[in-house]
Amino acid sequence: MSESIELVEDAGLSRREFVRQVGAGFVALAAVGSGATNLWASSSPNELPLSSGVVMPDPSLCIGCLTCEVICSRVHREQGLSDIPRIRIFNDEATVVDQVILDAYGDRGQYHQSPCLMCPDAPCHHVCPADALPIDISTNARFINEDKCIACGRCAAACPFPVFPESEATNDETLGQLTRITYDPAKNVYTKCDLCHWRPEGPACVERCPVNIRIRQGIIESDQMCLDLPAATREHWEEQSRLDQSA
């Protein structure tokens, strides 16, 4: 035992060792400091400008005509973008159809529309590794830049708003869609509602919805629109969350 003790010298602390240990300690303290700064900074995540509007559906007025899907596909195709509809209509037995619709169209079934809800914190924007989900300058719409999109799927995975099972979709496309952001296998990009931000008239679905047209013309009496474009406020999102949760 004593020989081992003799062999293993008590090293003490040389100046060099002291400097090294203190240096490493400072680096550790700097890491803790930066961690504390991160905690303080991230308690209020980056504020993004609120979208000027959000396509807000009213399922009770939907007649399942798919005009919104068709016109969405067309206007985007004309722009050279993915023609996957960014709003999707699902069968939904829980929807209570408004009497004015039953009176105007008869029983056409029960539906539920699922566009992107232009979240205030936009997790899709933050998770994108390719800077392909910017905020439009004029409308503050969160849109996908298809030239930059690398189709990693993170935006779709990060979207907190689910959609109904695809088996309940009224069109028979099988896209594997789980949230408000969809994959287009033909173009190998992801797509989402972009409020048709380049159109002076605004979202094509809101403009061309036949129920909306009749409501504007006074043919159908309703205070609500089938597809409305209110300001992006918390109340509208909470209403949409309630609709999603009740489905």
Binding site: E3, G23, V32, N38, P160
Partner: protein, 334 residues
């Protein structure tokens, strides 16, 4: 008890900070609805600096213990301790981290035609990344404090030795050190070996503790690749907290993805010499047992063996110690 006060205090503080980091996720009052993928990344972004700090502090204490208790290369009966247990732990922490991150990275990048549950893939990727962060910063701090690994070449002669070793792997110096023990006919290999020795001045007896292939083709390449992966990964994490220019994020992503490819290739080159060169198998064993056979050291690392046996205290240690645990401090019973 006194000497444990500081490390315990640091560890407890770390736990508190981790708790604080995990408690503060966005979406207060249930709004907006939580995004799992976003919150997972934000959590790692907050926790990463504390992982680094803990790794550094642990490394400092490991280095202090090694300095004070004299753990290091030593002859232990029929074996020689090549690594201490801290080195082995750091190596496998990194290795497991790389395997987890690489596997999930390949799935995320869609190198295979399979779309996994992205959130699960990212969670596993972040676990792997955390292990890599810990392993790397622990390694750096431990060796910064204790004075280096010996893996960094000290002269240009190592390039000569590298070429010689590669010829040895090719079987030019005989099947003993050849990959797959290929027995080239003497008529082919002897003239080549003669010219390699004459032109390069290569001698097998110049090998120290680390092979030249380790000093040039392994450690520095790993250091660069892991550095690139860690730095670009940190930039990609920081964007969840700070406003990072989009072009910087895109560039960091591209470099991170390229480094992934490079690491995949490097992993093959790391494992290949270990697996197909039987002369290297004791080195593979040392990454589990911490020791290599003394006979192997005498034959393959003559300079290192000479150093081990030349120091008087080491000679005594060789005489005394026969049953010390590999990796533990030398405290032989009289």
């Amino acid at each position: 008890m006194k000497r444990f006060a500081l490390p315990v205090t640091i560890f407890l503080s770390w736990l508190v900070l981790i708790g604080a980091a995990s408690a503060q996720t966005p979406g207060g009052e249930g709004w907006p609805p939580p995004s799992g993928l976003f919150n997972d990344a934000l959590f790692l972004a907050r926790v990463a600096p504390f992982i680094i700090a803990l790794a550094i502090v642990v490394g400092i204490f490991q280095a202090r213990m090694a300095i004070q208790k004299g753990g290091g290369d030593a002859i232990l009966g029929d074996t020689v301790r090549r690594h201490d247990i801290s080195t082995v732990i750091a190596h496998w922490t990194n290795a497991i981290g790389v395997i987890l991150s690489l596997t999930t990275g390949a799935l995320i990048l869609r190198w295979v035609d399979y779309r996994p549950d992205l959130r699960l893939a990212f969670i596993i990727h972040y676990v792997g990344s955390s292990l890599i962060l810990f392993g790397i910063f622990n390694h750096l701090s431990r060796h910064a404090v204790s004075g280096g690994t010996g893996l960094i070449p000290k002269s240009f002669g190592v390039i000569r030795d590298l070429i010689g070793e590669l010829f040895a792997y090719a079987g030019m110096f005989g099947p003993k050190e050849a990959a797959l023990r290929i027995p080239w006919p003497k008529a082919i290999r002897q003239p080549i070996a003669k010219y390699v020795r004459a032109i390069l001045g290569y001698k097998e007896s110049q090998t120290g503790k680390y092979l030249s292939t380790e000093q040039i083709l392994s450690y520095p390449v790993w250091a660069i690749l892991m550095g690139v992966i860690v730095v670009t990964g940190i930039i990609k994490l920081l964007k969840y907290i700070y406003v990072i220019p989009g072009s910087m994020v895109t560039t960091a992503t591209a470099i991170h993805d390229l480094a992934t490819i490079a690491i995949s290739v490097m992993l093959i080159f790391h494992l290949l010499p270990l697996l197909i060169v039987p002369a290297n198998w004791p080195l593979l064993g040392s990454m589990f047992k911490t020791t290599v056979p003394k006979k192997y050291v005498d034959e393959r690392h003559p300079l290192w063996y000479k150093k081990l046996t030349a120091t008087p205290s080491r000679k005594k240690e060789a005489a005394i110690t026969t049953s010390a645990e590999p990796g533990s401090p030398q405290t032989a019973d009289a």
